[in-house]
Amino acid sequence: MSFILTAVIMFGFWLLLSGHFTFILLTSGIVASLIVAYFSHELLFGDIDLKITVNRIVRLIKYMPWLVWEIIAANIDIVYRTLHPSMPIDPEMIEFDTNLKTETGIAILANSITLTPGTVTVEAKRDGKFKVHSIVRGVNMSGMQAKVEMIEGNRDV
Amino acid sequence: MFDVAGIVVALAVLLVIYRVIKGPRICDRVLAVNAIGTKTVVLLALIGFMYERPQFLDIALVYALINFIATIAFLKYREMGRLD
């Protein structure tokens, strides 16, 4: 399963990069993507359950608009703090726990934290412990945490 | 339009070079080199459009990958003390 999926993705990428659709190039593309998929399909996917993954991707897409909005807010915040003459920053380290189980969930939360206002992930452990560097004191993370936990969907799957 | 944007991005690279040279720590330098890599990708895309030859994007794509790999290789060295 993961083998076929990897091969399809690789071939799509080949088509994207080449832009030529002659017979010989398409054939070599198929051969190359099959070889790559044979060697690396375990790296890219491992064992996956297609239904859960599709569910997660749908929820991830629903999460995106909110994330984009937060990114814009974060950048306006950074621009303000950078260009203000006296530089209003007061950094601190925060530690907190989450209930995230999967690596993907942890990676999404870590990147989201880095991209949203005032915070950068410093350490994200596999058991869901996070260390975050915040540029101002007293940032609340629970809203985003709940959103990412919903994407992962431990309760309803 | 693209020329002006290219010049602005190149000036931004020039600013970051200051941090690469000054440091003071090695992490600051890696951070700055990583930032330069991102700006270079943007610059390459802009140059491709300046010449109206968007095939240059392939190089930009390779750059984005290489930049990431170099940073990760460095971090691996810092964490393990060796690469292999």
Binding site: - | I7, A10, V20, I47
Partner: protein, 189 residues
């Protein structure tokens, strides 16, 4: 034009900083940044293949190789402190120091003069009547598309007209790579 100027300034600053740095790891990183910018300049000159090579070899592999080499040796430069100071409280030594630097300056200036004198006979940049452009270049430009089927004629020259040359170069590089791998593997045991 302004873009090229800024890029050149960045290159010079990077190269100077890389030579000046005492910390070798930082110097390797600055060189990586330098070749990133160099590849942008190659792209500006429309030399896409060279830019590709510069990006993957200069910025990617070289940096990783240098870090790998540093991980097996030491990070600092030997005798860094003494060379940094230069001045010692000793009249004769100071005189020798000044003399050595003036001699170096003269050698560098003479070399620069000779090189500039050498460029005076060269045709202008992009001159269509330059010898390099009148001999075979016209044929490459006009015919390479139909003769080889390659879009970019630098690529056509590299991998088609001079294909055996490139094959030889690639063989040399491949052999060197295998030799390096074998050597490193032996050391690990």
């Amino acid at each position: 034009m302004a873009l090229d100027l800024i890029l050149l300034i960045i290159i010079v600053i990077c190269a100077f900083a890389a030579v000046q740095m005492r910390d070798l790891l930082s110097a390797a990183l600055v060189l990586g940044a330098c070749s990133l910018i160099m590849a942008v300049i190659w792209t500006r000159l429309n030399a896409v293949d060279v830019a590709f090579t510069e990006a993957s070899v200069g910025a990617g592999i070289t940096t990783v190789l240098m870090i790998a080499a540093l991980s097996r040796t030491r990070r600092g430069e030997e005798g860094g402190e003494e060379r940094d100071m230069g001045w010692v409280h000793d009249g004769a030594a100071n005189k020798r120091f000044i003399f050595r630097h003036i001699a170096m300056l003269i050698v560098v200036l003479v070399t620069m003069g000779v090189l500039i004198y050498g460029t005076m006979d060269m045709p202008d940049f992009g001159d269509p009547d330059a010898p390099a452009h009148t001999h075979v270049a016209r044929r490459y430009i006009e015919k390479s598309r139909e003769e080889t089927g390659v879009k970019n004629f630098v690529t056509a020259v590299l991998v088609s007209y001079r294909g055996y040359d490139t094959l030889g170069e690639t063989t040399v590089i491949f052999t060197a790579g295998i030799a390096v791998v074998l050597l490193l593997r032996k050391q690990r045991r």
